[in-house]
Symmetry: D2
Subunit: 424 residues, 4 copies
């Protein structure tokens, strides 16, 4: 299913008058709409292939309907999102869930939808049928060299798939760790993991990056071998220039100041990218911005400030991806909400009066610094985000159109009630 441009046009026509009024008001108020619009239009958020189906917990999974069962259908789904918001122009694949049997055809299909291939993801946290060795006790950290070798080779295979598709990065998230005191020798586990990563690193093409993702807990419940940004940074520094830390917003201990972590990693030249989501308790994988949108804004505030200070490109120098689980919402609606939340936070952070903030910081004028941030945050920037979509050919109200256009019903019609996506 490809969304007809006329449908979008028709939708926009109905919404246009109200939008124009709102956008004009906002433009007048802010006086900098044009510059922000250009940045918003350049900003794309990758969609993970595994977020297109219903997620679940260990207690159960309540499947949706019309989910994409093949890689082609997943690309189609991301194509739909991108047609609606023009900001989801990349897909991130997970091997072995998304092995492209015909890479050329897959690339062509993606191109038809205007999509690129973002970071490739390996999977050594689950056993696959007919796999020689089990990852029950870890993969790259495993005490048994044969298991490590299997996991290393899997990662190299993932790189190779990515090369064929035009991807430029590998994200390594390890569930490796321990669930009980005494289970693991932390030092040796670190060392074995490092050596395994070094072998993978050696297989990385010259223009690729490797992202070392960290996570505080789950599925191991005592220690994680890449458990926080400090550990990830140790690995990235020991690996070399192509290695970076990847921040998943849900992978922290309670109350962590993620925006400070982001600022410091940027400062060290080692921030690689993001997995966006939101959470209240742990790696809850909720819709971006659904629990604490101010924190999201504060993170973007650091990103904009830091990227500019380093002379980096907002749109291209970091990897931007959603990583959420859609247990009780339609995955496509949820992803539209997530992308919008990211764009809202990005637009708000672009509105921050940097010069005034810097001056307030220099004067330790704490109340004024807060006023400056909240002036940007409390501004209703949704018309800016909508205008960016409009200018790119997307829909003014993506979710509204998704519903009015009965997109899910059409997908169910094509794929059936029982079509289930791979993933968690």
């Amino acid at each position: 299913m490809i969304l007809d441009k006329n449908i979008i046009a028709g939708h926009n026509e109905k919404e246009l008058a109200k939008h124009q009024q709102q956008f004009n008001f906002l433009s007048e108020q802010t006086g900098q709409a044009a510059a922000i619009l250009e940045k918003l239009k350049a900003f794309q958020v990758a969609i993970p292939s595994w977020a297109l189906g219903t997620g679940g917990t260990r207690f159960g999974r309540f499947a949706g309907a019309g989910e994409p069962a093949t890689l082609e259908q997943k690309i189609e789904d991301v194509g739909l999102l991108h047609a609606l918001n023009q900001s989801s122009g990349a897909i991130s694949l997970h091997i072995p869930w998304d092995i492209p049997t015909n890479a050329t055809a897959i690339k062509e299909l993606a191109a038809q939808h205007g999509l690129q291939f973002d970071a490739m993801n390996s999977n050594t946290f689950q056993d696959q049928p007919n796999q020689a060795h089990s990852y029950k006790f870890g993969s790259l950290q495993h005490t048994d060299k044969a298991v490590r070798k299997q996991a290393i080779e899997h990662n190299i295979e993932v790189i190779n798939h990515g090369v064929n598709l035009g991807s430029k990065s590998l994200t390594v998230w390890l569930s490796d760790g321990s669930s009980f005191p005494g289970q693991l020798n932390f030092r040796k586990a670190f060392q074995r993991t490092l050596e395994s990563l070094q072998e993978i690193y050696a297989a990385l093409p010259a223009d690729w990056k490797i992202f070392v993702e960290y996570k505080a807990f789950e599925p191991n419940f005592y220690s994680m071998t890449v458990g926080d940004w400090g550990q990830s940074l140790l690995f990235a520094n020991k690996l070399g220039d192509k290695a970076y830390t990847l921040v998943d917003l849900g992978h922290h201990l309670p109350n962590a100041n993620i925006e400070q972590i982001v600022a410091l990693l940027l400062n060290e030249g080692k921030l690689g990218g993001f997995h966006f989501n939101d959470s209240k308790y742990g790696d809850d994988d909720l819709t971006v911005g659904s629990i604490n949108p101010y924190q999201l804004f504060l993170i973007f505030n650091e990103l904009v400030e830091g990227l500019d200070a380093k002379g980096l490109n907002h749109a291209t120098d970091l990897g931007w991806m959603i990583d959420a689980s859609h247990n009780i919402k339609d995955p496509l609606e949820d992803l539209l909400q997530s992308v919008e939340a990211i764009q809202v936070a990005y637009a708000q952070s672009l509105l921050v009066d940097r010069a005034a903030l810097e001056a307030a910081q220099g004067n330790n004028d704490v109340a004024l610094a807060q006023e400056i941030l909240q002036q940007a945050y409390r501004t209703d920037v949704r018309p800016l985000v909508a205008e960016a979509r409009l200018q790119l050919g997307g829909a003014l109200s993506p979710i509204k159109l998704f519903r009015e256009g009965k997109v899910r019903a059409a997908l169910i019609g094509e794929r059936g009630e029982k079509s289930v996506a791979t993933g968690l």
Copy 2:
């Protein structure tokens, strides 16, 4: 498989000399071994049927081998545990995983193993094949009366199964809640849940108890409709005299003082029982006592003090059950460790010099109160626990015997490598 008594006897013979030396020393040191032994011997911990197989997380499950695939085999497994430690004399069933098609035969089988039927557990957190209504958005809280009715009827069915088996209680754990702000009207969800519970309560036999279990989060990640002890107590009080709160050690927010909760619930006459496990981050469902054994001791310290103050029977007036998930250990070994940890904490708490503690508390002698608790806690009470097992006919070193006796290998021989238990 039934463990031959001679095997146990042979094992004990080898261990006896060393044990006697340790036990005699401890008896001399404490001077109150006999009284504690009687209490330890009377104390039984129920084993949940779903803890006999390998658990998993949403990221995967690494199955073991020789797991019990039928209710009969689960009873057999608990029978093995009980033969080894003589302290696991009850099994707790989960419907629909454990529907007894022939209750009489199941009762007989259990009796052969010396087992009773502890609390029955209902399951409205997962959909079953051919179920009319989905629990995707809750069960007893659901906005749709038909869904609530289905869930109520399921609970009544569970009670009926329990009546046939001689159980005397129903544990209701609800995953009901919400994952996003706005999803639920908290007040109405509470009210609907209360009305549903009232219908279940009305179906409860006169000599039964209903345990309302609470949980802070997971699988819902924004709110849980029975989210903490305060909410559970509200429900229990509104239901009536047969309703109690059940405490699962892993179901709290970070840093919660569980022992205080326990003491207050006891004081209100509304503490119903326990689900024992341990955890570091959330409902990690780790082996009891594997992360913070001192907390376990402090909980037992409140239990012993409070039960005695209320004139209640340690062994029979509360429900004692393990609720853990065995992702990377042999479930039977894990359960042996858990039961031992509970017995150790219980024995330590029995050793506390109550009169001295009361006096220290009365004098606000904080340092002395700590000395008194730690005097009991630091005492190595394992010989007491082993002696209790010995006197009851169990093994001095259950895990050692489990391993030397190659019990798991025998079970695999009987059931096969691929035999998988129901559960999470």
Copy 3:
């Protein structure tokens, strides 16, 4: 110092054109400005006397200048706030810091500033010079009856002061608890505290309320005797109809769902009032809305829904108070920011489309429910709040006027650099 009305008028004149444009736009967009304005205008937030000076931590205190050193000066400060925002029309006193030696004169002074006397606060967490008994080991929970008696009498004295001033409620916050396992018998401490509260309750005038405040930790670091909402509710229920639970936003364990607690307390008819602040780690006492403004909105969303459902008056049926510590901001600026944040959240919650939300909840349309909440939250309601101030005679931009009017400098001129307020 009393702020000249002409100064405010002059300030508003300069800001008016821009404000009118923003307010008109918002009125058109929302279509319900008038009704919301009336509610905003009726809504008053009490200022605690102890928040008018610089706060500190155990590591130190960095005093400001020109702080109010007397009760009269504190009333003057709140009068200044109220003149600026017309929403701070009440002051909450803390005894013994604010003993009114001449109640009639104090009442008159407050009336001149348009202020009422909100809840009275007792202090049994610190020892005062010449106090017979120490609260080192608690007050209402103390094992020594003489200490409890002293604390009870102090509370009754606080009530008497309040009666003289026209206050109608007493807030009891207890630091009582324990810092070490074993220090306290939880059950007995609960019982002693209850009996002490009952004596205080008996001294309460017929038209008074008593608020039982809870706190998870600090200054006791193992247990707090009124530690969570469940415990507070137990006390309130046992005390009687005049007893209520008071919620301080910073007094919870990490990740607590405060909005659900609020909804349930309202449902039980036992929510008494609020201490507003914000926090990231514990009882950080930061400016309201400075860390997680969405949570504040969600709390108000429950309040508006619940108060309306119960037929209660938003402005008068609950106690609204700020309780924050101003370590590094000017206290008056900080309080202006806090009041504004509360009004913004209140206005946003009034904007929520209740009928649509109820329908979405009924349909389990989770994505739509989120859209409805965020539609209200993302709306920039500041012009509504400013308009409410304008209509009441306050300043369009209180902080701006505070700074341009050099109010602090004037206060320093009057009181001196070294004038220090009582408080933490």
Copy 4:
């Protein structure tokens, strides 16, 4: 006051028979008492000068009596502790609280008590009378170069005092950070702090170490500029070979796995030392081992394993210090409990069967690894610790002797009821 050796001898004589019986039993059981004893005897824990008086919270301080008011009296107090346990042979000073006006005399006094001077501590978290610049907005991070210069010079002054006393290390704990979003530019604050530390580092004698302590929160409640081990390690690595990370057990986010952090820092060659205490919620500064003694054991388990693997000396290659606050216990009793808890954990960790553990880890035998750890942990090693004291000339039961000997009463007699120590 110096404790007469005869008093200790008399005390030991009464306790000896029972002790011998216990020690002999333990020796037989473990078979390795002699080797452990030697290590225990070599192991000394430094006492911080500020822990000798009653601590407090921001809510108040309940002073004790007979506290040491001078540096000489503080040395006397540590001397008393050391006389009792022979394991507190060092004192750690805090400047400006403990400025030695006559270093030679102070060294002599310390030597009389058998004490060395452990790490020196600077204080840039509080303003001192007559200080030119305030630390309200930080010290080494401050935006104003003059403030940074003042803080740097203070640290250099502290080094100089330390040189005079024979200390060999400087601990820098910074309260620097921010309490509100926007207040600080994280990158610049890091950079300024680094440059300040570099100036201090340049002033460090060749044989000195500098310890960079981290803390997650408090007294700043939004960000800390040295907030976690990762940040501390960044600073230490950028500073050079003499810079190390210092771990304070209470300075972490909830649920942090401290033992893993310790193992990794040791692995990086950057673990400098410890501040021991215990906590439930934050930096509660409770008695060591009073809340979670198993965690303390697990930390020592990593230390012993890691130090041995690195060929380091347990007693001398890391800095061992208590850092606790004694709000409601007699500080000297509390410190005796803390030292004992550390020794117990150390002894338990020395009992761990390393070869068996390594084998179990190699085999992923998780249950066995747990058994091995708990075998050591559950052993009652107190007789070993007591024997170490006995052999060194200390008391078998230090607290008992402290009480029976009426030491506090004697100190009050000497110093008076109102004598108050400096500190928090």
